[in-house]
């Protein structure tokens, strides 16, 4: 016990004496949280919008006016012909082109039906999807107005029968993307920093040769490993604390669930990451190698965690793979606890899986750590 205590003390001394490391541990994550949370948004604003109006009627102008009124669209120009619109899209000057056909108003009044053509720049697939959604919303709403107008002019005393769905967004009523992005990014930071630090730590002793000296001592490998990794567990918990405070102070993210529960889960989760770091240390000889391997895993874990893209939209095989992604569970738990107020029993499935993962990962890492070659 005394030995472990001394190693922990020594590790902390070394961490705090490493002037290059301190900002990496504490300043960079805070910057990342602030920058990423403000930048990583699904909303698409200032869409460069143009239209071709072949109809020049009051109805077509009303439709364009609808787009003009929207905060998402910047109505740039009207193009006289399709060719000019196409070349402008090719040059990247516009993102969305609306084409209103000839006899738009007439067809609408006479046949009660007409077509519109929308061209969307889909270089960025995600943005194109969102833009398409916005366009649809506006056209739908326009459609409704027109219907009312037609019915009023024809003086029919029948009230329009429309079924309208009013979505109610639970746990994030205003659908504020920050509310679910900030907890996610917090997870990312805690995972990334602890994995990188723990992955490079034992390898560093290999690199500078101290491990050879340590190996010729009666120290038990469990003592050494616990002593080496415990400081990073503390740092991980510290990062969570800093992140939670920032989430509250800067982004005003609600924390509905129990903070204690969140800490309890995180304390187990970090063990998984530390085990992974140790494993990387065991199979590498230099900090550079360790860094690259850690980077490889963290990128896969983050992109397949449901943080940026929903797991439901992944192909079947990828969904199965995500079951082995610890970050996925952490993202789920953080969002559940913070936004939904999930209780201990609610997160029990994730907790079990994480605990199993932690035991398996650390067991394998300790087993593969060898003092003798």
């Amino acid at each position: 016990m005394k030995t472990i205590g001394y190693i922990i003390q020594k590790e902390f001394k070394q961490i705090f004496r490493n002037k290059g490391m301190l900002p990496i541990i504490f300043i960079l994550p805070i910057l990342q949280l602030v920058i990423l949370s403000n930048a990583a948004t699904y909303e698409v604003k200032n869409i460069k919008f143009a239209y071709i109006d072949f109809d020049h009627s009051s109805t077509s102008r009303a439709l364009v006016e609808k787009f003009n009124a929207s905060t998402y669209f910047n109505v740039l120009t009207d193009f006289p012909s399709q060719e000019i619109a196409s070349s402008s899209m090719l040059a990247g000057e516009v993102d969305v082109v609306l084409e209103i056909p000839n006899h738009f108003e007439r067809n609408l009044l006479r046949d009660k039906t007409t077509d519109l053509s929308i061209t969307i720049n889909a270089i960025d697939g995600a943005a194109a999807g969102v833009e398409s959604g916005y366009v649809n919303q506006i056209v739908q709403s326009f459609n409704k107005d027109v219907k009312m107008a037609i019915m009023n002019t024809s003086k029919k005393a029948i009230q329009p029968i429309t079924i309208e769905s009013i979505p109610s967004f639970w746990f994030n009523t205003t659908l504020n993307y920050k509310t679910f992005m900030v907890p996610g990014i917090l997870v990312l930071l805690v995972s990334m920093i602890t994995l990188f630090l723990s992955g490079m730590n034992i390898v560093r002793e290999k690199e500078i040769g101290t491990l050879e000296q340590i190996n010729v001592t009666p120290i038990r490998k469990s003592q050494f490993i616990i002593g080496k990794l415990f400081p990073f567990w503390v740092i991980g918990m510290g990062l969570l604390t800093v992140g939670l405070i920032l989430a509250k102070v800067i982004f005003n993210i609600p924390t509905i669930g129990s903070i204690v529960l969140l800490y309890a889960y995180t304390s187990i989760y970090i063990l998984v990451i530390l085990g992974m770091g140790l494993l990387i240390s065991n199979f590498t000889d230099t900090q550079q190698q360790a860094m690259f391997i850690a980077w490889f895993f963290i990128v896969i874990f983050i992109l397949m965690s449901g943080l940026f893209t929903p797991i439901e939209s992944m192909p079947r095989w990828a969904q199965i793979v995500t079951n082995f992604n610890p970050i996925k569970y952490f993202v789920e738990v953080v969002r559940m606890v913070m936004l939904k107020g999930a209780s201990f029993t609610d997160i029990l499935p994730q907790l079990w899986k994480t605990l199993l993962y932690a035991i398996a990962m650390n067991g394998f890492a300790v087993w593969s750590y060898k003092k003798v070659h």
């Binding site: 001394y6 001394k13 101290t210 050879e212 001592t217 003798v372």
Partner: protein, 300 residues
Amino acid sequence: MSISLSNISKSYKKVKAVQDISFDVNPGELFGLIGPDGAGKTTIFRILTTLLIPDEGTAKVAGFDIVADYKAIRSSVGYMPGRFSLYQDLTVEENLSFFATIFGTTIEENYDLIEDIYVQIAPFKNRRAGKLSGGMKQKLALCCALIHKPKVLFLDEPTTGVDPVSRKEFWEMLKRLQKKGITILVSTPYMDEAALCDRIALIQNGAILDIDTPKAIVSKFPKTIYNVGANNMYKLIQSLQDYEHLYSVFPFGEFVHYTDQRESFEIAELKSYLEKAGLTDIHIEVAQANIEDAFMELAK
């Protein structure tokens, strides 16, 4: 026996690092492994300190088998690797108390053993190890290797890269430690240090050439050695290499060490040969053979 190796072999993939090595070190002996870089010295150290498992053969350190009782060995030997391997970002004192703690002891408990050495670095005890000079680092490393009062001390090239004064001091410290009953196995590529050991093993390409006291090894040298000097060293060696009766020639400081094939050798004859070759300031005298000469002879 404090250390005994029998028929130890170890290969790294296809490279045979050491082959069929056997030797014994008596308790309280200062034993030297002498050989050039790549001879296999470090491999022997790593096997004896339980960091490597030999492919073949057995070895015992302080009465414990290196494979079966590796744990007992780790608490009863001190090891100083060739590369400085203490924490550069910890201070002198912190390094020392760190190693004391992981050996389950304290600095105070075994202070008498390291006192001689530690007083020399004590003025810098709050300095980070990375900021020490080469000689100071070696002293600190030696203190750390001694802090748990080991029975056997392994020093892998402790004086490589250390200045001549510190080297001399270091060997004096080793002699004092030996008097305290510690068995010391030391390796060095410096032949002059070999003469300071009780016994030495000359080693090359993973095999032992000879094991004996330094004196005995030198006395086995079969030829008379001549110090030859002239105005142009390079030309001198070239001329000697072309000499028909040459046995061996090696540069040695400001002279070359020359041995002749014949039993009866005339200094004057060689002198006139060299003069004919255009050399001046020719100086030839009988010299004492040393370990380097012996090593070169054995390594032939």
